[in-house]
């Protein structure tokens, strides 16, 4: 008998090396106390959270807290099953109607996470004769959805409509083609050129799916995301997204005008064979979606804060992602510097995400920052002062030192 778990030896070793280098586990940070949407206590220290994806700071939205409490008391802690088996609560259907109206679509389908929304949708709609073309920087859930489908899968160069065009032009498969992109990309924070990609997709008679995970609530008219911002929402067949970022809770969805979405409900295994969202979560999402739709001031504050952080870091000489958005990737010259810098920032009371390849594009180590509308001016001063100290340190090997 061989060792079933031998394949984890390398990962385990890498993780141990990481631990030894940093002195604590950057992939297992414990928040001992959550103080609010932008602050938590880590290792006995109050830290500004600059890696939460909580773009609008709505995790403590008063109407959502109250709505969740009411739903919890009225309907209990969980649904204990799939909606197909156990039935839907009326609030699931209310939320689906609300989502459809939010995106101005005829239909919306709830999933239990954004991960499951991608996996469920892609594995259901991409069939044996079809081809799915995904942007190379797409999230793991999109890759996994493709893997679970029977379709042929191609990867096109990140944000490159010409590369997509060439691939679509040479397709010989008898089936349909589906193009999948994101709105704002999770690692580098750059937007998709949705207008150009939608044009190419249309010209070849292909379908378009946009995962607005990091752009819902963040941009566009009515907080509808990047496709709406680019004025091409009507050219998007399937809008996918998550409640785990700007919406401030958990859950996933797909919105579309295609009437078949109701039949997909009976085909998507990630919908059928898993429990539906619990009442308190549904109630929170309903409240925060309404808040973001009706309060553009949240977005204004978010973008103003993003500008402060991006410009501040750029002035210090850090190498940043190509676009000024609430996702700000700080490129580290190498993994070792990345680890040390991440640790220095935490010691200074600033929590960012340590992002390592292969989860990052081009094999880069990134300190991934996500800005929040609820960050105060003082908190952002604190963040920038911490980065400035890092950039000034004699052992900093980044471009900032040059």
């Amino acid at each position: 008998m061989k060792d079933l778990l031998a394949k984890f030896t390398a990962v385990g070793r890498q993780h141990a090396e990481l631990l030894a280098q940093v002195g604590s586990d950057p992939l297992g940070v414990r928040m001992d106390r959550v103080i609010g949407p932008t602050e938590a206590e880590i290792e006995g220290r109050r830290c500004v959270l600059l890696g939460s994806n909580n773009y609008l700071g709505l995790t403590f939205e008063p109407t959502a807290l109250e709505g969740a409490h009411v739903a919890l008391d009225a309907a209990g802690t969980g649904t204990t099953g799939s909606r197909v088996a156990n039935g839907s609560y009326s609030m699931h259907q209310d939320l689906e109607r609300q989502l459809a109206a939010f995106f101005r679509r005829r239909h919306a389908l709830l999933f239990s996470t954004g991960y499951q929304a991608n996996v469920g949708m892609l594995s259901a709609i991409a069939g044996r004769d079809d081809t799915v073309l995904i942007d190379s920087d797409c999230h793991a859930s999109i890759y996994d959805g493709c893997k679970l489908s029977d379709a042929t899968v191609q990867r096109f160069r990140h944000n490159d409509p010409e590369n997509l065009d060439r691939r679509l032009a040479r397709l010989q498969a008898p089936g349909n083609a589906l193009v999948v992109i994101e709105g704002i990309y999770s690692m580098l924070g750059d937007r998709a050129p949705v207008r150009e990609i939608a044009e190419v997709t249309r010209r070849h008679g292909a379908y378009l799916m946009v995962d607005e995970a990091h752009s819902l609530g963040v941009t566009g008219p009515g907080a509808r995301g990047v496709a709406a911002e680019a004025g091409v929402a009507d050219k998007v067949d399937f809008i996918v997204g998550t409640f785990s970022k700007s919406v401030g809770t958990i859950g996933g969805f797909c919105a579309a005008d295609h009437d078949a979405l109701e039949a997909i409900r009976l085909s998507a295994r990630a919908y059928l064979f898993t429990a539906s969202l619990p009442p308190a979560v549904v109630a929170s999402a309903r409240c925060t979606l309404e808040r973001m739709r009706t309060d553009p001031g949240l977005r204004d504050r978010l973008w103003a804060n993003a500008e402060i952080v991006y410009d501040g870091l750029a002035r210090m000489g850090f190498e940043l992602g190509p676009e000024k958005t609430p996702v700000i990737a700080v490129r580290m010259p190498d993994t070792q510097t990345g680890l040390a810098t991440w640790r220095d920032l935490l010691d200074a009371g600033v929590y960012v995400n340590l992002a390592l390849p292969p989860a990052t594009p081009n094999g880069n180590c990134l300190l991934r920052c996500s800005v929040c509308a609820a960050h105060s001016a003082d908190q952002l001063d604190h963040v920038l002062a911490a980065f400035a100290r890092v950039a000034d340190a004699p052992d900093w090997r980044g471009t900032a030192a040059e």
Binding site: D129, T131, S136, C146, T152, V153, Q154, R155, R157, R167, R170, L171, Q172, A173, P357, P358, P361, N362, G363
Partner: protein, 96 residues
Amino acid sequence: MTENTVGTPTPERREIVEAVCAELEKHNTTGIQLHEETDVTGELAIDSVAVMDLMFELEERFDIAVPLNQLGSVRTIGQIADLVRSQAKSGGQQTE
């Protein structure tokens, strides 16, 4: 995959192998001498994303489109070359 790595490589295949090696050399931090049997993700410790990125270069160089579905079973430089050649022969996209 029906082509095998045994026998004299045709010039066409050699050209592909050379192109694969040239691309991989950019990521080769191990100092290992590259050859057909080199295990890309194992010996060279090149991650799966870098392998997918490598395919972009090969796709453009040889004017092909390689489905991701076919990359999963590929380990060695020779196998990558065979995959590229089978695509080039079929003149475009091949379904799984």
